[in-house]
């Protein structure tokens, strides 16, 4: 079976700067993969290419066996890639409920005209969707705050809501961009449990960009390591921990 996500010698240049250079990597179905590297290694840039925000200068990306070249972010979301952002990007003035409801819309048939005619089919679909939204919020304990505007939630809940909203698009691959940023150790433990729970419950693949080694080493099945836009290592957490190139990248080279 081909991998769910396949990067083949992906390169992107911004003017004279090569942010990502010839990176090849794969994510299999229902696999939890980590992507680590020092600051500025090109992790988020790689994310943005996978989600269609940037187009690679060279190389190719395939998702679910099909090339993603030229597709815009919403096309890719429709094909099954969902993401969260490094700096949380909710719809701040919308309620918690509506944040998730909007994301569900992707799999509906109705549009502007149906919103105006409000026929029977439209109404059943809307009711069904409301129930599904409530269920999903319930799984993550957010139903109590569903009528609050998203911006009024505490930080941890906003992070959680962003993940829930991404799940509402029914992805096959979920990209999490530094979900542990700004969390204390106790919250990080919670987050690790949450990520594993999601992967099992929703049967999806997760690509996790993270700075926090404990989080990545603790839950990922496989890890890719980037440095200065190049991939320097790939392997299980144990292999990565012992890899001399990775140690050098993180702790510095030993001289003499």
């Amino acid at each position: 079976m081909p991998p769910l996500l396949q990067l083949d010698r992906v390169t992107i240049r911004f003017g004279g700067l090569t942010a990502v250079s010839e990176v090849s990597a794969t994510v299999d179905e229902r696999e939890l993969v980590g992507l680590i590297g020092p600051n500025g290694a090109g992790k988020t840039t790689l994310f943005n290419m996978v989600t269609g925000v940037y187009q690679p200068t060279a190389g190719s990306i395939a998702f679910d066996g099909l090339p993603t070249e030229g597709l815009r972010p919403f096309d890719l979301t429709a094909r099954g890639i969902a993401r969260t952002f490094q700096n949380i990007r909710l719809f701040p003035s919308l309620t918690v409920f509506d944040n998730v409801r909007v994301a569900f819309h992707l799999h509906l048939r109705h549009d502007a005209t149906h919103s105006l005619t409000r026929g029977r089919k439209f109404q059943t679909e809307e009711t069904e969707l409301r129930e599904r939204t409530r269920d999903l919020l319930g799984i993550f304990g957010l139903e109590r705050v569903q009528d609050e505007p998203a911006k009024s939630l505490p930080y941890g809940d906003q992070r959680r809501l962003e993940i829930v909203r991404a799940l509402a698009t029914r992805p096959k691959l979920l990209l999490l961009d530094e979900p542990a940023a700004g969390m204390n150790p106790a919250e990080k433990v919670e987050l690790m449990k949450l990520i594993q729970f999601i992967q099992e419950k929703f049967k999806l693949a997760i690509l996790l960009v993270e700075h926090d080694m404990k989080v990545v080493m603790g839950i990922c099945q496989r890890i890719h390591v980037l440095e200065y836009g190049r991939k320097i290592a790939e392997g299980t957490p144990a292999e990565i921990r012992a890899d001399p190139a990775v140690i050098a990248a993180y702790l510095g080279q030993e001289h003499g």
Partner: protein, 312 residues
């Protein structure tokens, strides 16, 4: 059983019809102001869809109004005499058809203006629509077939209370209906964060164009009503000031609020009439009022917890 929102619409239309039937007893000046208020509501609510709910900034609403006004006025003045027919027939068949056509042409103009400029992020739309409004005005001033700078005269007075408030009710229903669905919440999402909206699978350009075209359509309908209320069209009446007047209604009512914007449309319509007795000082008082209001209530006049948005 139709949904409750449609029952409300029917009730509003029926009410407009009943009030209109007894409008003969009203003072003609009061009637005139009331119809102006109805047209204001159509304009403000439709612009609110673009500027308020979808977070774009159009400065050309008067331009789309002009497209609708001239289209529908040309239709009734030229076809009306040719068709002959009873006045009632003309008012109940030809007039609504002309309003619809005016709206459609305005929507088409909206598509032509919006499709290229809404792909861009930022303030491009404001500049492009500002230019569009001016172009329309200049074109109308120079086309003799529509009266040129002298204006178009002899437009039949078909507009009455039923048509103005009927149109207002339909506009409110359409904008409300469009927004109150899982699909419709996408407009608000686009206003909040375009990048996140794209990542959630929303085609943001399509949403923005939809809002713009629907808003332009109702601006065109309002133009048609205006033409058949005044009986006379002058290109200068659809200038930048008119667009600003509509923008002010939306801002005062609170961008992206249903009830507030309707109240603002009513208040500003009545206010500009009452201030008429101050003669030349009218615009000074009007501007001062706006400055004070903007300083004291920048979030809009009619916002209090009573109308807090709920996820119903």
């Amino acid at each position: 059983m139709p949904p409750r929102s449609q029952l409300w619409l029917l009730a509003a239309l029926a009410l407009a019809g009943v009030v209109s039937a007894f409008s003969g007893r009203l003072d003609s000046y009061v009637l005139d102001v009331a119809m102006g208020v109805g047209i204001n509501i159509v304009l403000a609510v439709s612009l609110n869809l673009i500027n308020g709910f979808t977070g774009q900034f159009s400065l050309g609403h008067a331009g789309f109004m002009a497209v609708g006004a001239y289209t529908s006025a040309m239709l009734t003045t030229t076809l009306g005499t040719k068709l002959g027919g009873s006045p009632a027939l003309l008012q109940w068949v030809l007039f609504p058809a002309s309003l619809l056509l005016g709206g459609l042409l305005a929507a088409l103009a909206g598509l032509a203006v919006g499709a290229p400029s809404l792909r861009l992020k930022g303030d491009y739309l404001a500049i492009v629509t500002l230019g569009f409004g001016e172009i329309i005005k200049v074109v109308l001033q120079n086309v003799d077939a529509v009266g040129g700078a002298r204006g178009l005269i002899g437009v039949p007075a078909y507009t009455d209370l039923f048509w103005t408030f009927g149109a207002a009710a339909v506009t409110v229903y359409a904008v409300w209906g469009l927004l109150n669905s899982a699909y419709g919440r996408g407009f608000l999402a686009v206003a909040d964060d375009e990048v996140a909206a794209e990542a959630m699978g929303l085609d943001t350009t399509r949403y923005k164009i939809t809002a713009f075209v629907v808003g332009s359509f109702f601006a065109g309908v309002a133009g048609g009503l205006y033409a058949h209320l005044k009986g006379y069209l002058n290109p200068g009446g659809f200038d930048f000031n008119k667009s600003i007047e509509i923008v002010v209604m939306v801002i005062l009512g609170g961008m992206g609020r249903h009830v507030g914007v309707i109240i603002a449309a009513v208040l500003l319509g009545v206010l500009s009439e009452t201030l008429r007795s101050f003669g030349d000082y009218r615009m000074i008082i009007y501007s001062l009022l706006l400055i004070v209001l903007m300083l004291t209530r920048p979030q809009g006049l009619f916002i209090w917890p009573l109308w807090k948005k709920k996820s119903t």
